[in-house]
Structure formats: C-alpha cells, structure tokens
Amino acid sequence: MTSDLVSEIVRCAAAAVLLCSGAGKHAAPASASRAVTELLKAPASVARAIVRLTATLEVLAALLFFVPGASAVGSALMLLLGAAFTAAGAMGAARPDAPACGCFGRETGRPLGWRNAAAGIGLVSAALFLAGHQVFSPPGGAALTAAAAVLLCAWLYRDLFRLVLKGKH
C-alpha cells in the first residue's frame, strides 16, 4: 500500500516535470536550441529540431504514464531523456563557458552543469523505480499531475505571476 502510494507520487511528480519541461520548450525553444548548438556544434536548424523532438518526447512520456498499458513505454522514454540530460549536464560542467540550459523553455537560467546532470540522474532513477512498480490508477493521477504541473509552472515563472497578480513590477 505504502509502496503503491510512493510509486504514484513519483509517477505524478515525474510526469509534471516532463509536462512542464516539454510544453515550455515547445513554446519557447530558442534558449535550449542555443545550448544544443553550443554543446554539439550543430547547425541552428538541427539544434531546433533536436529541441522539438526532445520536447515532444517529454510530453509524450508524461501522457503515457496515464494511458492503460503504456506506462512502461513512458518509463523507457523517461530513462532515455534522463540519460540525455545527464550527459548534457556533464558536458556543460566540463566547460567554463557553458551556455544557459534553456530548461523549461526559460530564457534566464544557470549555465548547464552538475545541477542538470543531477536532474537527469533523478529522472533515470525515477524511471527505474517506476519500471519495477507498474501500479495503474490514471484518472486521479492525471489530475494530481496537472495540479503539480500548475504549481511547478507558478514557481518557474514566479516573476511573471507576481507581475500578473500585482499588475506592476
């Protein structure tokens, strides 16, 4: 019972992070594209395509957690994405002029580094954990994930929220 609850919480938290990250990068891919260009020395068009693909996979992984029979595919995608983020973070940490990560589509942000590698390892760990706990309770989980995504969004864009709520800087 406790194990089911923990796996449900992990699933919802991971899905909320992936949903925010994917949707944010789809809406504002510029910063992440610059990071990919700099890290991989890839042309801008290729970098943008990589960011779009990553964002699509993130949203897809988040949604698959709540589709009957597809949770394992969601875990596999999250494992792949986590490994990619870990590698990107390690590459960024290895260079003094690492570009801003463009995480969640944000223009402002810290340079790519160990923080991103740690986040990637967190996703890999969550994917491995969920692969061993295939408990399924989608409707409530989806609503909980949506609520977590809204809270995460509010934290990520807290400056904008303040601006909207107060009507001034």
Binding site: G24, P96, G141
Partner: protein, 181 residues
C-alpha cells in the same frame, strides 16, 4: 468520464505552461532589446575574489595592472546579450567615462572569438581571447557573460553581470550607485 477529466486537466495544465513560457520569452526579449522604460539588467557577482590582484596578466590586457581605473568586459560569442553589448560598444567610442576599457572574449574556439571581435567592429579596443575562459575562471572565479570586472591599479574591486552598456555606465559612474557596485 474520469479519464476525460484527467486528460482535460493535463491539457489545461500544459496550456498554462505554454502560455507562461511564451510570456517569459516575450519578457526576456523586451528586456534584452530595451523595454519602453529602457530598463536594463545588472547584478553584483559576489563569488569573485574582491581585492585579488592577478600575478599573471595576458599580454593584450597587461596595462590593466598599472591603470588607475580599468574595466574588463567579458563577452562570449555564443550569448545573445554579448552580441548586443558588442553592438553598443561599436557605437560608443568611450562607453564608460573614467575607466580604461578592455575586452576579454571567453570562448572554446579562439578563431570564433576573433571573428566575434571583427564582426562587431570592436577590434579597436584592446582585447584578449581567453580560450575556454581559463584566465577569468582561474583568477576571478567568473563564469558569467556578459560581465564586467572593475579594477583599481590592477586589483579587482567588484564584478557585475549585466545586459546593457547604459545600465553598466549608470551603475559605475553614478556616485550613490557606485557603492553598491
């Protein structure tokens, strides 16, 4: 019905993220291109070793060690704000009154650093291409760009990260703000 509710909630949450991501991008573009109020960004970097006097000055910026007041702008060819700062430098021959100005280009590719200087027409100022940012990282623990390092007779007094020359000038040259920077 529960599935419909759950996925509707997810779609609405995703739409909200998209909306705020777009607003964030618009806000960042307004900031970097100059908002109607002309608001720029500047922040004191407190991780730099204030008071530090480098023993090892690269040749192109060696005169900073003797200058009464000097200022090194650290730019990277891969950051958009750096390109905008470089464009502002080209149009302002004496951007920071009272300071000898030097440029440090932090880049993993020296050829790209030289091309950045030439493309923006700022080669008239003394500049040093710092491969992989090794010098600024080793001497000043600096990992941000665009940033400005301020020196008094070769001794680091403070450092800021900024996105606009006018904002930097105001912070450096206005007496009541100088204390903060």
């Amino acid at each position: 019905m529960d599935y419909v509710f759950g996925f509707t909630a997810l779609v609405l949450a995703a739409a909200m993220v998209v909306l705020f991501a777009m607003l964030g991008e618009v806000s960042a573009r307004l900031d970097s291109h100059g908002s109607p109020s002309g608001r720029g960004f500047i922040r004191l970097l407190d991780q730099v070793p204030a008071g530090h006097a480098p023993q090892d000055w690269p040749e192109p910026v060696k005169r900073m060690a003797e200058a009464e007041r000097s200022l090194a702008l650290v730019l990277s060819p891969t950051c958009d704000s750096c390109a905008e700062v470089a464009a502002q430098l080209k149009t302002e021959p004496k951007p920071i009154p009272g300071y000898d100005l030097y440029i440090v280009i932090s880049t993993s590719d020296p050829a790209q650093g030289v091309a950045f200087v030439e493309d923006h027409g700022i080669g008239g100022m003394p500049y040093f291409v710092d491969e992989r940012g090794q010098w600024v990282t080793r001497e000043f623990n600096l990992k941000h760009s665009p940033s400005a390092l301020m020196f008094h007779r070769g001794r680091l007094t403070s450092a800021v990260v900024f996105n606009d020359i006018a904002t930097l000038r105001a912070a450096v040259t206005t007496p009541d703000k100088e204390a903060k920077v």
